[in-house]
Point group: C4
Chain length 273, copies 4
């Protein structure tokens, strides 16, 4: 019986530390983990540089091995102390955790240098762990709610922008492609340019040279400058509805005045709600 | 009588499939059509590339012929089963459908290579068919309504921006044109530059080199950075009015003025509601 | 007496045509004037090009003389039929009209080629006449009102942005100026770069090359990307207040409910207002 | 006794002049100080230029000495007449004032040319004095309040953008790094590029050349073009809540809950208002 009561305590403690964000142990664990993820990302970034001294490459390699062991241990601990192992393993966070652990092991089986590079990028999804920070902040939920509520309008808007850039890109191709040394080589490139311009990014790697082309670009720029207001309007309206919303359908049973969710008494007739 | 009842059934079925978005057959038809349009667009894009192997060019040519037949059949079917043939043919969608079908036929009569390129762009309007997707989504209407309601304010704003870029472009021409190798060759180019800067696109193909020019550009940038708020404000205010507007369709039974949900008497004629 | 009654008629007709926007004659006059201004601007733009055939230069010169006569006649007519000549001549529009007429005459007295160019830019203020279009549209007033009401907030914001770009520009100068071939030559240039970056224009004529410089730029970009929301928020809040404003202080004398400017009856008790 | 009453008068007068913004003397002092700061900044900017004639360098040096004396005198005067000397010296403004005075003195002890440059940047914080202008304007407070209230949402948003640019930058590195002469040299550079693109700055110093890379960039641009709406929505909603908020200081006399102007009963305790 002593064994039965002690073992669950370890498991419970682990669970509290790993899954709970409210306890001091849980917080400390999350902070250490976030730092470890940041370090592993930094290694990934530095390793990607082509001009790296060999000793640094070796050091980073060993650090990576260490972090891989740490993350593996963490994944096993999570699996061990989860209330439902299957539920955790198949949940979104479980899959992300697994994807953060797997890549270094996969490189053993597929030693092709080029492919290794590809797998590194999968390993990189580790960063998503930081999303757990969202649990700290209720604001994240409100944000996602507001965006989610206006997702339909945003999709229609995106469709409209897509049609627009295809039309304008093709038109620009017709105008500019005849020029010598024109950078508008094909319609695909022209559409890429139209997106660059409409979104007000404006790299400048492709620019119009004819008068007609500059006229059309000017139009696209001013259009993009104005169209940027539309998603703004959609999201803002959604935000205001989320934060100001005075309980949509609730009304006072006595005087039929609107009541807000937090109201305990009707603000118009004093009726207890 | 059997013939009479069967023939309308075919027509009705076709009509249901082609014009109706609610039935499964109608949906499937729309999806197939959208894919066909996307493919025809992709062909157009790939064909525009100057470096294309001959076999691909031939293949794409044949695919295009196939799609042309398909779209022609669709247009004839639409004409056949439309409730009012004339009404459809002269409606906005009827004209867009026709413009999507015509270009390949017109190339037979005008074999000039250069003109063919021009006609291709007309053929390209096929994409507008995708606008039919708007019918799926009620959101599109709300979006257009909100924009439409603020179109006057936006036009005034555009006029103001136009005057601004003309003034600033000319000023910049005076400042920068005296420099050797200046890219501000004429006032037109300078206005094009002013639009590029004010809209925060900033290609960088034309940039100021004098101190005075950089001062003025800095001012234009900060102005553009602030002015971008104006269309945002217009559209957002319109959106909020569209979504928050208390009573959509309620009107006073006596004087037909708009009434709000909370109104107990018509605010225009005093009628008790 | 006939003379007395006929003479004012001519003056009145002219006044109606020139100053009134509501009568058909007045509208026609305004449209002709707007076209004339647009043409004179186009001449200015084309003339600024360095590579112009002599015959075109001559033609444009003559067209300009014609337009100058036309604008002079218009200015004299305005002065003649204005209700208060002095009032018109000293009003903002009167001065703008005069500035649109004067430059060609001034070039006679100051034949220096370089100075002529300068004067051309003053002549160019003709475009401001188009502002009269604002009279057509009530929307312009609402726009200006909304911006005017938030001008204090916008100025504070501008001050903040100014301090920010000076700080960030200097910091960037310290980081980047040590590099060989650095484009961050002095603090002024660095501040110009900071404005270019913060306003999301991003010409690309000056770009960071060090890791620290790119870090700081990334921070400035994300800051600019977020700060752009502030004027948006200010103007939008102002717009919503302008359009939604339900008459600030007006209340029904009987039931003390809020009434809107357009209300003829109280919407809560039916009291005639 | 006369001495006692006269001495405080001088101190009080100084205090009024230096710390008070309402009296004419205080205003004049602030204006002079702001101009002095602007001049000292201008000197800093001009001095940073590498190609400066020696006489100008000397003149600017002397001007700087003069300004240093002036700022030192001002700091001493502030310390002398502050109500609590310690309180002032340790307040945020006190530290900023000290940092504006110290740098020229520190250069005596550390004559290294390179370090001097560094210290100049600290001296540059003088500009923060201009923040005192915020005291003039109540709007500044409203602005900061509105931003402060939404700071949590903005931080979550920033975290999301950070994760996004890391993911997209790495993806872009995988796509583009294989190309000859690719500017996507390492993941750090690629993330820098992703931030440049997402924030719609778009320098153009690093641009994609592959078709896949241009596809991904197009997606990032359109994403950035839409995501820019989110901070806008957050800040705007916050602004509207700040300015529209019905009752600023009214609270229920019984339970101290916030009540709105139109409330007749407290919505939390039912107390009649």
């Amino acid at each position: 019986m002593a064994e039965i009561s002690s073992k669950p305590t370890l498991k419970e403690r682990l669970r509290e530390m790993i899954f709970d964000d409210d306890t001091p142990a849980g917080r400390r664990f999350d902070i250490v983990l976030t730092i470890a993820i940041a370090v592993s990302l930094l290694i990934l970034f530095v390793e990607s540089s082509p001009s790296l001294p060999p000793w640094l490459k070796t050091t980073l390699g060993w650090l990576e091995v260490l972090l891989t062991i740490l993350f593996t241990a963490e994944y096993i601990a999570r699996l061990y102390c989860a209330e439902s192992r299957r539920g955790y393993a198949l949940s979104a966070w479980g899959i992300i955790d697994l994807l953060a652990v797997l890549p270094p092991y996969l490189t053993f089986f597929f030693p092709g240098a080029h492919y290794m590079l590809m797998l590194r990028s999968i390993r990189f999804i580790r960063i998503f762990r930081i999303f757990r920070l969202f649990a700290f902040l209720n604001e994240g939920e409100i944000l996602l709610q507001a965006i989610g509520r206006s997702i339909h309008k945003i999709l229609v808007y995106f469709l409209f922008v897509l049609v627009l850039v295809i039309c304008l890109g093709t038109l620009m191709f017709i105008i500019e492609s005849g020029q010598p040394n024109s950078e508008f080589r094909d319609i695909g490139t022209s559409i890429y340019w139209a997106i660059t311009t409409l979104s007000t990014v404006g790299y400048g790697d492709i620019t119009p040279v004819t008068v007609a082309g500059r006229f059309l670009s000017s139009f696209i720029m001013l259009l993009g400058y104005t169209l940027i207001a539309v998603p703004g309007g959609i999201v803002t309206a959604s935000f205001i509805n989320t934060t100001n919303e005075p309980v949509r359908n609730d009304r006072c049973p006595r005087c039929d005045a609107k009541v807000r969710k937090t109201d305990k008494f009707c603000s118009q007739c004093g009726e207890k709600l």
